[in-house]
């Protein structure tokens, strides 16, 4: 995976435009599933492309390589945000009202699931989302995140256990 060759500003902008058009939707879907809100997901996607804009030479050439690079940057952006908001988010998780009736109960249950997911470290969250919701295979996730398949399996196992524990605690 070699960095792209040096380009002038118009060329860099054109390439970035193509990059944005090709990947913004996929990144938003991943970010939305990893983030607590549409705004947070939009910010994460924008930050990801801004990092590409500021350092276009770092974006590798080729569709799968550039997608993998963008996904890794997105996960890093989410991790930075997650670290900043860690304390607040953990506190908010315990403040979800514990009603258990009607459509409100379903909403609360969904919120609890989302909050449990967001309490996971971003990389683990991304792996869980890609595997369980997007249906991405373990080798593909490993290639995207540049980690070993065994590491992906470990994150999946630990992530599921953490989710089960957090969700179970909400229902105790």
């Amino acid at each position: 995976m070699s960095p792209a060759a040096d380009t002038s500003r118009p060329e860099a902008a054109e390439r970035l435009g193509r990059l944005f058009d090709a990947h913004h939707n996929r990144l938003y879907r991943l970010a939305r599933r990893m983030s607590g809100s549409a705004d947070a997901a939009r910010d994460a996607v924008q930050d990801t492309f801004l990092r590409a804009a500021r350092s276009p030479h770092l974006v590798p050439d080729g569709m799968p390589n550039e997608e993998a690079w963008l996904v890794r940057v997105l996960v890093n952006v989410c991790r930075d945000e997650w670290r900043k908001r860690d304390v607040r988010r953990r506190a908010a998780f315990h403040l979800v009202p514990d009603h258990d009736h009607g459509s409100e109960a379903a909403l609360i249950a969904r919120t609890a699931i989302q909050q449990a997911l967001q309490s996971l470290p971003p990389r683990r969250r991304a792996i869980l989302v890609m595997y369980e919701l997007e249906g991405t295979s373990i080798p593909s996730i490993a290639a995207l995140l540049e980690i070993r398949a065994v590491t992906v399996r470990w994150h999946l196992s630990v992530g599921r256990a953490e989710m089960a524990r957090l969700i179970g605690r909400r229902h105790d």
Partner: protein
């Protein structure tokens, strides 16, 4: 863990919030393209840079090492005064032959060219 998968799918935020609006996409695209620097980063061939740096380091190291060795070496001896050429005639010069026997006795023969064995009968 189908239970976790089902729960995650039930709570999938994309069910209610599937995509960015066209306005959001256009605004974000504009902001991103505006962020491209006026002078794109100059990409240097890192292999070439690394090779040059290694060569320079090697040369500097070799120079320093040579200088240290030179400073530690014995001082250069000044050439001794030239031995004056023998002025005596060749036939009057005595030659010595020195050697040791296996028992350790040192034997010195002095050969006198002026010596002539006379025959006395």
């Amino acid at each position: 863990m189908t239970d976790i998968r089902d729960r995650l799918r039930d709570a999938d935020p994309l069910l209610s919030d599937p995509a960015l609006s066209a306005d959001d996409i256009a605004a974000m695209r504009r902001r991103v393209l505006d962020a491209v620097p006026e002078t794109p980063h100059v990409v240097t061939d890192w292999k070439r840079t690394l090779a040059i740096a290694a060569a320079v380091t090697l040369m500097a190291g070799a120079g320093i090492d040579t200088a240290r060795r030179a400073s530690r070496a014995e001082p250069v001896r000044e050439p001794s005064a030239p031995v004056p050429a023998a002025t005596a005639p060749l036939e009057t010069m005595k030659t010595q032959l020195q050697f040791s026997t296996p028992g350790g006795t040192r034997i010195i023969w002095t050969i006198d060219p002026a010596f002539h064995l006379t025959e006395n009968r």
